[in-house]
């Protein structure tokens, strides 16, 4: 056994896992398997592991801090992004402070100023859908404070960016329904002016066209919100106008509403109509039937953005900026799995 205090790296080496896994296990991150968490905590207790906080406040008397601007906190996707940021930041010696804007441009400006005044060492930003002017963010670059955009990015500012390919995700979701034998696939979307909705719809359209299927205007509905009631109403409308055998709903909540409507008319899911949602909110695994969905790499987005930011903080002269595009993955569940459902 080595001399001196035990570090995260020592525990990682002993268990043959990565240092970030050890860090996450100690922070009770739900993504870490239970057995791993138990093993890590057991070792930490056995060796009286204490986090090394002097490492965290290196040269300056102030702890290094990363600021985050996020549109929403009451939101499963953004909260997973934040978790990814926090884990990576903390295991690299950075504290994290967060401002959420509730999609309001004015709040975003106030928040940006607050973080600038708070003297953060770097900024991670996802802009609100209402932000058109970016002076409040350019101010960071002007002061030599690195910033990285994630998800909703700003084209005017040259820096690192991390995005998700929503168009491909829409394509994959729709193709899955086609693979299950669906020929008449309806689309239920959120407000048509939002980028994400537009991209997912583009993916849907391309999949339909590539498979040589038709799609008609009456089996496409855009809702005002992503609420499950909207999904219910949209499905009612669609059922009156078309014969369908599949539905791609652009969020899991809309998918829940759609399935509720189908159930109320004794239409079997997935046998008569197969359904796919999007985002992998916890409702999608708990609902009955469990809902096939697209899992977006929120945690990975947070982690990746933070890594790029920390690299920038450590090497401010490096102006080789990248746009990192992440892919989502399909999670097949009961609502579209015709191959294993009973007839």
């Amino acid at each position: 056994m080595k001399n001196g205090p035990v570090t995260i790296k020592d525990i990682a080496r002993e268990l043959n896992i990565s240092a970030s896994t050890v860090s996450r296990a100690l922070a009770d991150n739900p993504l870490v398997k239970k057995e791993t968490k138990i093993a890590v905590k057991e070792l930490a207790r056995k060796y009286s592991y204490k986090p090394n906080y002097t490492a965290l406040s290196l040269r300056s008397s102030k702890t290094s801090t990363i600021g985050i601007i996020v549109p929403q906190l009451v939101h499963e996707f953004f909260s997973s992004v934040i978790r990814g940021i926090e884990d990576h930041a903390y295991s690299n010696g950075y504290n994290v402070i967060i401002c959420s804007t509730n999609e309001l441009y004015e709040r975003e400006v106030i928040d940006a100023n607050a973080l600038l005044s708070g003297k953060v060492d770097g900024l991670l930003a996802c802009i609100s859908r209402n932000t058109g002017n970016f002076d409040h963010l350019k101010a960071f670059q002007e002061r030599g404070i690195p910033l990285v955009f994630y998800d909703c990015i700003c084209d005017e500012i040259d820096t690192h960016k991390v995005v998700i390919d929503d168009k491909n995700a829409g394509y994959v979701a729709t193709n899955h329904l086609i693979d299950q034998g669906c020929k008449k696939i309806a689309y239920i979307g959120g407000p048509a002016n939002l980028f994400i909705n537009r991209d997912r719809f583009e993916g849907y359209r391309k999949a339909i066209t590539d498979a040589g299927l038709e799609f008609g205007g009456d089996c496409i509905v855009h809702c005002d919100s992503g609420d499950y009631n909207d999904g219910f109403e949209a499905t009612a409308e669609i059922l009156e106008q078309c014969e369908i055998d599949g539905i791609f709903a652009c969020t899991d909540m809309l998918a829940v509403g759609a399935i509720k409507k189908l159930k109320s008319q004794r239409i079997r899911v997935p046998e008569d109509v197969a359904v796919v949602g999007f985002s992998n909110w916890s409702i999608s695994s708990l609902y009955e039937p469990s809902i096939t969905t697209i899992d977006q790499p929120g945690y990975e987005m947070g982690r990746q953005a933070t890594e790029m930011l920390i690299n920038q903080i450590n090497d401010p002269g490096n102006r080789k900026f990248k746009i990192c595009t992440l892919q989502s993955s399909l999670i097949v569940r009961e609502s579209s799995n015709r191959l294993t459902s009973n007839h």
């Binding site: 100690l26 922070a27 009770d28 739900p30 239970k34 986090p51 906080y53 965290l56 102030k62 702890t63 801090t65 906190l73 009451v74 939101h75 909260s79 997973s80 934040i82 978790r83 926090e86 903390y90 504290n95 994290v96 402070i97 967060i98 401002c99 959420s100 509730n102 709040r107 106030i110 928040d111 100023n113 607050a114 973080l115 600038l116 005044s117 708070g118 003297k119 499950y228 829940v256 916890s282 409702i283 708990l286 609902y287 009955e288």
Partner: protein, 341 residues
Amino acid sequence: MAIDKKSTITIKDIAGELGISASTVSRALANSPLVKPETREAVQALAKKYNFQPNYTALSLRSNQTKTIGVIIPQIVHNFFSLVIRGIEDYSYSQGYSVIVSSSQEIYEREVMDSRTLLAGRVDGLLACISKETGNYDHLNEFVDRNIPLVLFDRAPEKVNATKVVIDDFQAAYLATSHLIEKECRKISYIGGPENLNIYKRRFEGFKAALKDQNVAFHPEIVVHCESEDFDECVDATAKVTGSTFDGLFATTDIMAIAAIKNIKKKGWKIPEDVAVIGFSNWPISSIYEPSVSTIDQPGYEMGRRSAQLLIEQIKDKENISIKKDILPVELIERESSKRA
């Protein structure tokens, strides 16, 4: 005017050298957008040159505000806490304050670091919910000592003398249990959370008290305390109780209620006819699930709003801070899972 580098520089000295007011210097150091960039740069250059250190006590007494409120919270990725934050934000922004949030992830040392970061960020006030590990409160008392207003919410330890906004977990559990008894339940299963957390201890006490007061027997064989709030773990834990029969079930989170319901359905029992079920917290899933789950609504948003309101009152009138304890009412929401004729 030459200034000796070794002496302690004040805001007044910098103001004098640049021929501007002390408040302008203060604002410039706080990066206020109200100050012209050239002025800001000049002030900050001088401050750096003379190694100026802000005097925090002086700053707070002079009510030189940043118009920012700091929040320390155990988790952000959490239905209840994210609502509390929203309540804090909506109220604070409406009063002209921005909100900076830091999470401790239930780790005491992180909470201490967070508090130092917020102190260094010169927040005008702090709202805090302590981590489950926190037993020493010096880092919070630092704010009190510097006359920076502090309001605690949800978990509010006795040892800190500050205003608190909480709910009465004992009373809430008593209410939920009484609801089941009112629905004719006479053998009630209890699914609790980690026993080391005070909220779950109090809910368990409330459950037992309601049974006792209404002469319903307590059955320890159908009581389970889950080690975490994770869904899969709760499914395993609740599977244990379905070995016995019971006619009512009180789960101390909605996720636990749904985990239990899945096990109950596997046994072929009907809800609410065979077993009436009530959960706790009113997460969105409780109204969406089938059967919709009765629950206790915890006023998360209201807790945030009220905490921010009390804090801003204190910020505006620091000389007259009175310590308060607000206990927010909870609401019983009856849904399909306990709707018996």
